[in-house]
Amino acid sequence: MATPTIPLSPEVRAAYQDLYDKMQAALDSTMDEATIEALNAWQPEVDQVLTKDDLYKLNADTAVFDALLQQINDTNTGLKTLQGQIASIASHFAMAADIIAAIDKVLTLVPGV
């Protein structure tokens, strides 16, 4: 069986899938050993075409995942900066509390100031 060009077109893929399904249905419905041996010899050839097409897709997906990772990491960096800005608001309030406490202490110790 000649190997078709990968990736398969949707029509070609559907034709191979249909052939595979019919072979599987035949395998599921017989106890005749000769038939099973024959189908078990040929069905893997059809399966190989479908599997090669699947592996092509998985490899292409890997490249997309790699590209997406960069995008998501860029956004995560931006969010980290934003978290820092929010934290600094709280820290400014904490700093204000410290300054007020320090002034308060001075006023308590030196009432005439």
Partner: protein, 330 residues
């Protein structure tokens, strides 16, 4: 005026609530996708390796000289799996950051800082009190007035009246100031979030949709591969069993029955794996929908009906009320 200011702070702060809810829903939607995807990739590889073991038996029985166990194809390399798991982990970091940021107005650090500001206001508060009171509309402790009458040796009397400012702010005022400062902090946090976050979420949405599409395709591909791997294992098992029944094989009857009993178990595993992958695809679709809902939420200028707004306002008011009541009474 002061009441309107505090009300305004509460209104602006409250529109964050649905955003936080969507962010939390997103985080919840991502968790099963990450866990199940990682398991799905590993299961698919393990199943493919089991099939390769069955193929080895066929190759040896057929005396296939080309068969080399070293050339057994690998479905997904460690690098391929890692590329997928890394992008999913980054997506999880993203969702957790969103949850933390959208809950930023309820920051414990901010609460602690505002309490500290309030409790530190003593004598300094006297100088600040008039201006703070005018902003927040809070009554300060009234100042005391002292009348002193002095009688001289000659019998003459003189009376002097002096006013002394309160030495400390009353607990009620201090608590009022703390609450106002907390509301101001929440307002500032909200302003920062409102300005920065929507753009990032909207910008991220097409990437998340793309990721979900590719992930769903990936899982669909695995579903096909796994289904055919199981078919092949079942078909070969069937052939081995029938071969063992040939005259002259003298197979142990118990071992023969055990081999036959493997068939329904393999079929069950095939069905379960198929259902698991189908539910994973549904979880991925839900993740895409949840993120898109979040992106729409942050773009709405007038996202809620008045009734919903008021309900959120009540929520924020309750939170502030809890904060206020948690402050020391004296």
């Amino acid at each position: 005026m002061a009441a309107m200011l505090v009300f305004g702070l509460l209104v602006t702060g409250c529109s964050l609530t649905p955003l936080a809810k969507h962010a939390t829903a997103l985080s919840a939607a991502i968790a099963p996708v990450v866990d199940q995807s990682a398991a799905a990739y590993r299961d698919a590889v393990a199943l493919n390796q089991l099939r390769a073991d069955y193929e080895a038996v066929v190759a040896y029985e057929n005396k296939d000289a080309n068969y080399d166990p070293r050339n057994t194809p690998v479905l997904l390399s460690q690098k391929d799996i890692q590329a997928r798991l890394t992008v999913l982990a980054a997506l999880q970091v993203y969702s957790k950051s969103l949850v933390e940021i959208t809950k930023g107005t309820d920051s414990p650090e901010l609460d602690a800082a505002s309490k500290s500001v309030g409790s530190n206001l003593t004598s300094l508060g006297n100088d600040l009190a008039p201006s703070i009171e005018s902003v927040l509309g809070i009554a300060a402790t009234p100042s005391s007035t002292t009348t002193t009458t002095v009688t001289t040796v000659s019998g003459a009397t003189s009376t002097t009246t002096s006013s002394t400012a309160a030495t400390t702010l009353s607990p009620a005022v201090r608590n009022g100031i703390s609450t106002g400062i907390n509301a101001l902090g929440q307002f500032l946090v909200y302003r920062t979030v409102e300005k920065e976050l929507p753009g990032k979420i909207v910008e991220m949405d097409p990437h998340v949709q793309n990721l979900c599409n590719v992930l769903a395709d990936d899982i669909q591909t695995l579903q096909g591969l796994e289904s055919r791997d199981y078919d092949r294992i079942l078909d070969l098992e069937k052939q081995f069993i029938l071969d063992d029944e040939k005259p002259g094989k003298h197979v142990n009857p118990q071992e023969h029955r055990a081999e036959i009993m493997k068939l329904p178990e393999i079929a069950r595993q095939q069905r379960e794996a198929n259902e698991k992958l189908a539910s994973l695809r549904e979880a991925i679709n839900k993740l895409a929908r949840t993120h898109h809902a979040l992106a729409i939420e942050v773009q709405r200028d007038n996202p809620e009906t008045l009734k919903e707004k008021l309900a959120e306002l009540a929520d924020v008011g309750n939170n502030l009320g809890k904060f206020y009541s948690s402050l020391p009474a004296n």
